[in-house]
Structures are given as structure tokens and as C-alpha cells.
């Protein structure tokens, strides 16, 4: 498959501080890729390096197979949508969108056609004569996208584009972005700290932490099969529950782990080498925890009732919080003591360094 963007051993340091350590990723042409991670993980820096707004300290950046590591931002065939839109406040919506075409000395007729087309796609036609100050947040965001579209770049870069919008608008714009990607089919790279945006938009997610790519793959691959404890905990909402424990026995494709708190034995499918007595962490998603009489003792602290789904916030003996997802729950469970259990195939095991034991 042709590559839209590929990074080869890319590094970035500010003085003595390394913010990006040796990142190599491949994003196929037409892909919707999402860089996700907590703040300070280097995802925005990586995006800005692809845009050419940050210099690369080492490695190679290729766009459509061409080495652009030392190219100017304008010569890379990329367009970027900024978190706070970065619209020119003194220009109308039309002039904002026409800005790059005018600099490129495009013909008046061509400019008018391209801007009109972008305005049509983004439903901005009636706002073309207005200045950004007269627009709502969502409209401004669309102008910023429109400014990117008219350039017909081979790669669109989005830097947390929805984080300044309110919750409802964010959901709506998310759908519009997904639709836009289907419509124009260009490669898109999207940076967010919101794993819900990552899950809903991405063809491929790249999870970053401390300047390293922790794992790359489709949203469901990352959800079902995380490589490490960080990815398991970061992807999914509510987050995965973790239980510290110690291997107490096993055999026949199974291993038994006794939890530190409550001393309850969970059986997980055995993968890889583990020895008896090894410290491990169990990861179980809220929807995989079952209530069972014989399970790990916990007390129901709070219930978030959403109608179809409810989230039980239960506390273990040491006061640590665990979330259990239930469907169709109608009884009041607050204050009751329950037992937690899970199927062996639904339990992920991580070693002490947080690496997944498969």
C-alpha cells in the first residue's frame, strides 16, 4: 500500500531534553491516523514536526514517498487545523479561505470556485462575508478546516481541533470530520488527548507516552489486545481495572493469580512464561467483571445509572476503586457487598514493568 506519511527514526530534543525518542511509524495514503496520549507525551510536537513547524533533530519524514525533512512547511503538501483555529481576525471568512490561493497567485476564478466548493461542503456559504469574530466556535472551526481544504493538501493535520468546543458540538463536529474524511479521502493525522475521539475517528491509533510510541493499531486491536498496562488503561472509558497479585499456580493453559487485596484467586488464560510467586497485575475491563457470590469481596459505593447501562463504583477492602459495567440494572445496590469475578479469557496479565504477558 502506498504510504501517505512515514516517519523513520524521528527524534526531537529541546536542548538536553528529548521529547521524541526514535519514532518510526507508517501511515497509509488516505488513512485517518490519530496520535493520542496524555499531555506532555509529545503528540503535538510530532504533528508539528510533520507540518514543518518544528525542526527534526534526527531521522526522516516522508510525505507521499518524498523526503520532506528539510522542506519549508508550505512545500510539504500539508495543511493544518489549529486548536484555537488561528483564523486571521482582520479578514473575512472568504479571505481567510482564499489566503493561501492568493499567495500562490491563483486565478481569481479558480479561487472563487475552490472557496465556494469548500464553503458548500462545510455549510459556510452564507457566512463568507463575515469576520471570524462574528462566528460561533463551531463555525470558526469549520472555517479553519475550509482553509485547509482549499489548498487540496495530500495530508491534513489536526491539532486537538475540538477541544475548545462544548460537549454537544464536539460530538457533532466529530461526525462531520468522519464524514469529511470519507468525502475527500485524503490522509489525515489527528492529535487528541481524548481517547473517545481517537476510538471513534481513527483507522489507526498511535498511543504515545513520554515521547515513545507505546502501541499502534486499529481502535479495536488496541482495546482488545493492548501491549502494555499504559495502553490498556488509556484506551477505553471507563478505564480498565487493575488488580495487583502474585502467581500462585497453574497448568493446562491456565494460571492462577492471588490478588494482593482480598487474597482471591483469579484464573487467567496462560500465555508466555510465568513462574510461581511472580508479581503481576491483572487488567479487567468494567464490562468483563461479573458479580458472583464467590468472587473478590467489594462494597458498592456509588451507582451511576444511565438507563441502559449502569456503572457500579465498588470499593475493595483497601479502599481502591473498581468500576463494573452492568446492563439493565434496576435494583438499588448501594452499600451492599458483592463478589467480583471474570472469565479467564477476559483477564489480561501484565508483568511488574507493565508489559503484557501473552
Amino acid at each position: 500500500m502506498a504510504m501517505g506519511v512515514s516517519l523513520k527514526n524521528v527524534k526531537k530534543s529541546f536542548g538536553a531534553v528529548d521529547v521524541i525518542h526514535d519514532v518510526s511509524i507508517e501511515i497509509p495514503k488516505g488513512d485517518f491516523a490519530v496520535f493520542v496520549g496524555p499531555s506532555g507525551c509529545g503528540k503535538s510536537t510530532l504533528l508539528r514536526m510533520i507540518a514543518g513547524l518544528e525542526e527534526t533533530s534526527g531521522g526522516r519524514i516522508e510525505i507521499d514517498g518524498k523526503d520532506v525533512t528539510d522542506e519549508e512547511p508550505a512545500d510539504r503538501g500539508v495543511a493544518m487545523v489549529f486548536q484555537n483555529y488561528a483564523l486571521y481576525p482582520h479578514l473575512t471568512v472568504y479571505d481567510n479561505m482564499a489566503f493561501s490561493l492568493r499567495l500562490a497567485k491563483a486565478k481569481k476564478e479558480e479561487i472563487r470556485e475552490k472557496v465556494a466548493e469548500a464553503a458548500r461542503i462545510l455549510q459556510l456559504t452564507e457566512h463568507l462575508a463575515k469576520r471570524p469574530a462574528k462566528l460561533s466556535g463551531g463555525q470558526r472551526q469549520r472555517v479553519a478546516i475550509g482553509r485547509a481544504i482549499v489548498r487540496q493538501p495530500s495530508v491534513f493535520l489536526f491539532d486537538e481541533p475540538l477541544s475548545n468546543l462544548d460537549a454537544e458540538l464536539r460530538v457533532q463536529m466529530r461526525l462531520e470530520l468522519a464524514r469529511l474524511h470519507r468525502q475527500i479521502g485524503a490522509t489525515m493525522i489527528y492529535v487528541t488527548h481524548d481517547q473517545v475521539e481517537a476510538m471513534t475517528l481513527a483507522d489507526d491509533i498511535f498511543v504515545l507516552k513520554d515521547g515513545w510510541v507505546q502501541q499502534a493499531g486499529s481502535p479495536l486491536k488496541l482495546y482488545d489486545d493492548p501491549d502494555n498496562r499504559f495502553v490498556g488503561g488509556f484506551i477505553g472509558s471507563p478505564a480498565m481495572n487493575f488488580f495487583a497479585g502474585e502467581v500462585s499456580g497453574g497448568g493446562g493453559g491456565r494460571m492462577e493469580v492471588r490478588t494482593e487485596v482480598g487474597g482471591k484467586v483469579f484464573t487467567a488464560a496462560r500465555r508466555g512464561e510465568v513462574s510461581s510467586g511472580q508479581k503481576v497485575t491483572l487488567g479487567i475491563r468494567p464490562e468483563h467483571l461479573k458479580l458472583s457470590e464467590e468472587g473478590l469481596r467489594a462494597k458498592v459505593d456509588m451507582v451511576e445509572q444511565l438507563g441502559g447501562v449502569s456503572y457500579l463504583h465498588v470499593k475493595l477492602e483497601d479502599g481502591s476503586n473498581v468500576v463494573v459495567e452492568r446492563h439493565g440494572l434496576r435494583e438499588a445496590l448501594e452499600g451492599q457487598t458483592v463478589g467480583l469475578a471474570a472469565d479467564p479469557d477476559d483477564i489480561l496479565v501484565f508483568d511488574q514493568e507493565g508489559r503484557r504477558l501473552r
Binding site: 507540518a51 513547524l53 508550505a74 495543511a79 493544518m80 488561528a86 499567495l103
Partner: protein
Amino acid sequence: MARPNKTLRRNLIALSLVAPFTLTFLLVFAWPTFKVIQLSLTDAPLIGDGTWVGLQNYRELLDDRIFWVALKNNGYFLVLTIVPTTVLALLIALAVNRLRGWMQPFILAIFFLPYILPVSVVTLVWQWMLDFQFGVLQPMIEAIFGKRTAVFRDPTWVMPVIALVTIWWTNGFNVLLFLAGLRNIPTELYEAAALDGATPRQRFWRVTWPLLWPVTALVLTLQLILQLKLFDQVYLLSQGGPFNTSQVLLLLVYNEAFQQNNGGYASAIAMVLFVIILVVSVMQFQLLRIGRHR
């Protein structure tokens, strides 16, 4: 009846808040202005009353050659200072804005330092530097123009040099205004412009310049008002000479009032300057505002 009471109380509070300013304004601005207008219609000396002469003082002004010379010199001084100081301040601000770390406040302080000096110190410094015999700048003048020049006693040199001293003295404040304006332009706009393919020159003319225009208009207007009120530097450096080539309106007011004891006539000149400043600055500000909306 609680409501009218409440309204009354609120009005009283409002009045008490506005009163100090209003009283001060009436006492130190409106009343003196009124007195000056009144004085300008009499033949009063500096102290004491005079007799009513109507518009006689103003009629005399029209025939006063020195008045027209002073007016022309004020105009010449505006040309020498306003645009040059604005352009210079913008260039310095652009350069300072590019500096990082401790260099930025350090360099800014150097440019701002003259502004905090009193005018008498400023003029002394320049008088020393430009002294005909011992001035450190005289060898430079000699190298460029072939001979030493007593600049404050030379009809050609006097106004440009006073303009130079004035710009040196007051420019730091304009740099500060421009710097504040530049810092208000978000970095992302420049990044967006870079991605849009704008060259550094295009980034300046299409992003910086239009977004900085309100500050530029402010600087131009403040400068216009300030430079029309030129007095101290001329009084200290050249006393209006030689041959009235640095005579300006405020100096004329001073001479007429405090040297010739012509209070009424001096008031008439002051009124003319007052009206000129009012009209020109309002006109300029309006023009600049139109410029912004175009």
C-alpha cells in the same frame, strides 16, 4: 416607598463616585480654559486685568510674521518626528520581539532608558555630545560634512537636531506600545501563514501590519499631540534661534506672556494652538480608524 429611596441612594453613590473627577476637571481644566479664552479677548498683562478688545489679538496674529514662522516650524517638526519615530519604534520593537531569554528585557531597557530621563538631562547630554569644541560627535560631523558645526546655532541644522534629540528621548515608550501590540498577535497566526505559503515579508504585510494597525494609529496620534506641544527642548537647546528658525508656538506663548508681559496676546496664541491640536488629532484619529476598516 422602598424603591424611590433605593434609586436616590444609587444616584447619590454614583454622584459621589463621579464628583472628585468632575470637580478636578472643572477646577484645573475647564476654568483655566475659560479664563484663557476670556484673557485672549483683552489686552491684559501677565498679572492683573485688561480692557476688552474683542478679536483684536487674533487680528494682530494674522499680521504677525513670527507667528506664521512658528506655525510653519511646528509643521516642519511634525514632519521630522512623527513618521520617523513611528517607523523606528516599529523596527526596534520587531527586532526586540525576536530576542529570547534575558536579552529581550535587557535590550528593551536600553531603548527605554532615555524616556525616564528629565528633559534637562537629555538636553545637557546632547549639548555635550554636540559641543562645537569638545563634543564627541563633532569628529563624525566633520568626517561626513567636511567641517565642524555648531548645530544649535545653524539655521539648517537646528530643527533636525532637535527632532533627533526628541526621537531619542521619547522613542522608548513607542517601542513599548508596539511590543505590547506584537505580543498580542498569536504565534499560531504566523504558523498558519507559514503553512499557507507566506514568505516572511508577506507575513509582515498581511498579518503583522494589519493586526498592529490599532497600535500604530494610537502611536501616531499620541505623537502628533506630543510633538505639537514642543517647548522644553527648544527652550533649553536653542531658545528659538537662530533667526527664529526654531521658533515654535509654545515658545512664542512663553515669550509674549513672561518676557513681553502680553498676557492677552499670549492667550490668543495658546487658543490657536489648542484648536489646532484638537482639530488635527481628532481628524487624524478618525482617518486612521477608517484606514483600519478598509
